[in-house]
């Protein structure tokens, strides 16, 4: 009997959470009494591809050498995966709000400088967000027309 009650509770709980997810997906109606983490899990496990950009979005890293000149550093080392995944990752999608993102970019710049200093005597490091228009020709076809926005500097 206890097992039956337990199983029916699991089924009812799962269906309620799923109903909360699908009702918000379809009707934007939030069912009360469903704990937020479970609701979010259900809703976001049905989330479709929701964003697209008309520009390429990437990150660029520059480091300062002891002689005072700046040079580019490869981004591949820090984002060695598919470019689409990298495009989302460099935007720090999990951190909400510009200020929260900037804090993490500063943290990132500091860690990258520490990493680079294992091999090179760099004295500073800068992170930039880089965007340029998409092109059917190739990814970098219109990169000469890119715009850069400073994100963080270390130290």
């Amino acid at each position: 009997m206890l097992r039956r009650i337990l199983l029916q509770t699991v089924i009812a709980g799962y269906l309620l959470v799923s109903l909360a997810g699908i009702s918000f997906s379809v009707l934007r109606i939030r069912i009360p009494f469903v704990p937020d983490p479970l609701f979010r899990w259900s809703y976001e496990s049905m989330s479709p591809w929701q964003r697209f950009a008309k520009n390429n979005q990437d990150i660029a890293i520059r480091a300062k050498k002891p002689d005072g000149t700046w040079g580019d550093i490869s981004v591949e080392k820090y984002f060695p995966f598919r470019r689409g995944q990298r495009m989302v990752m460099v935007q720090l999608a999990s951190f909400r709000g510009d200020e929260a993102k900037l804090v993490q970019y500063r943290r990132l710049a500091g860690l990258m400088l520490r990493e680079e200093q294992r091999i090179h005597p760099y004295t500073a490091l800068e992170l930039f967000a880089v965007t340029w228009p998409l092109s059917p020709e190739s990814r970098d076809w219109l990169k000469p027309f890119s715009t850069s926005t400073p994100l963080a500097t270390a130290p």
Partner: protein
């Protein structure tokens, strides 16, 4: 039909004893996929997953001491030890040896690596995967095609019946994933035209094949039509997958859809983690009758 018989039918559908073969196949495929996926990260362990490298632990700042120390990146030797545990857990899950311990290891170590991974990126398939793992943890999916049955009963293909609930949960979740996704797209502005497809094919998600396709310079009306077709397809897919007369065709269509997504948008996760769950939509007895490429002794219960 009385209320009592309706409830009995409901309860029977969710909890009847069934052959565990479909769940075992999900366990094997998911375990193998996690193993290969995790192994692909091996060259980056120090840089992207250890305290010596470049990590941003996502939850460490949100949890009070001393528990937050468990969420901080470990030194390199600790990272290697956890990584080996993750690989071993995934391998044991696939072969069905100490399944519960191995899946628990995969969940704990996987979540640890995920949350210290540079710029956490929680995608839909991450949520689906954690659900599948939790369901498998309580499923008895090691009651056939497993080292457990080989050692206990002398045969890989020996089997014992399991409760249907885990398989039914996975089955419902597959349908809900498509249904929710399809319905949401109907209401999203970006999905009103074909622009989302055309630009996505040109984006960093797009493969060289996708870029070649865009260079055909087809009119935007073509992309509009493809997007409308995708919306319709995702809407009917869960029904087609469940209804027996159309099931076979929708299996083929669903797999084709995800193969195209892989070939054009380099997104492999749904093909690897969602498509294998289709097997849970088949009658368990039908899957049991498949001829598995292992020595087949007489079935025993």
């Amino acid at each position: 039909m009385t209320l009592r018989s309706a409830f009995a039918g409901w309860e029977h559908w969710w909890t009847e004893p069934i052959p565990p073969h479909a769940l075992a196949i999900v366990r094997i495929v998911t375990g193998a996929a996690i193993f290969l996926w995790a192994a692909s990260h091996a060259p980056h362990l120090r840089l992207l997953f250890s305290a010596d490298g470049v990590t941003i632990p996502f939850y460490a700042d949100r949890v009070a001491p001393p528990w937050n120390s468990l969420l901080m990146p470990a030194p390199f030797w600790g990272t290697v030890a956890l990584f080996v545990a993750l690989l071993a857990g995934a391998a044991c899950m696939a072969i069905g040896w100490h399944m519960r311990l191995s899946i628990a290891t995969v969940i704990v170590s996987g979540l640890y690596f995920w949350q210290i991974y540079l710029h956490v990126f929680p995608a839909t398939f991450h949520r689906l995967l954690i659900f599948v793992l939790i369901v498998l943890l309580c499923s008895g999916a090691d009651r056939t095609l497993s080292l457990r049955m080989k050692s206990e009963r002398g045969s890989w293909t020996a089997w014992e019946p399991v409760c249907a609930l885990p398989q039914r949960l996975l089955m419902v979740q597959v349908c809900l994933t498509y249904l929710g996704s399809g319905w949401q797209k109907l209401g999203l502005t970006d999905w009103k035209t074909g622009e989302i497809l055309a630009y996505s094919l040109l984006s960093d998600w797009g493969t060289p094949l996708a870029r070649s396709f865009v260079r055909l310079n087809l009119p935007m009306a073509f992309y509009d039509a493809v997007v409308r077709s995708v919306l319709f397809f995702e809407f009917v897919l869960p029904f087609g997958l469940v209804w027996r007369p159309t099931q076979k065709w929708f299996f083929v269509l669903g797999i084709t859809f995800h193969v195209l997504v892989l070939l054009l948008l380099s997104i492999w996760s749904f093909l690897v983690f969602l498509v294998p769950l289709y097997i849970t939509l088949l009658p368990p007895e039908e899957v049991r009758k498949w001829r598995f490429p292992l020595r087949q002794p007489p079935d025993r219960q």
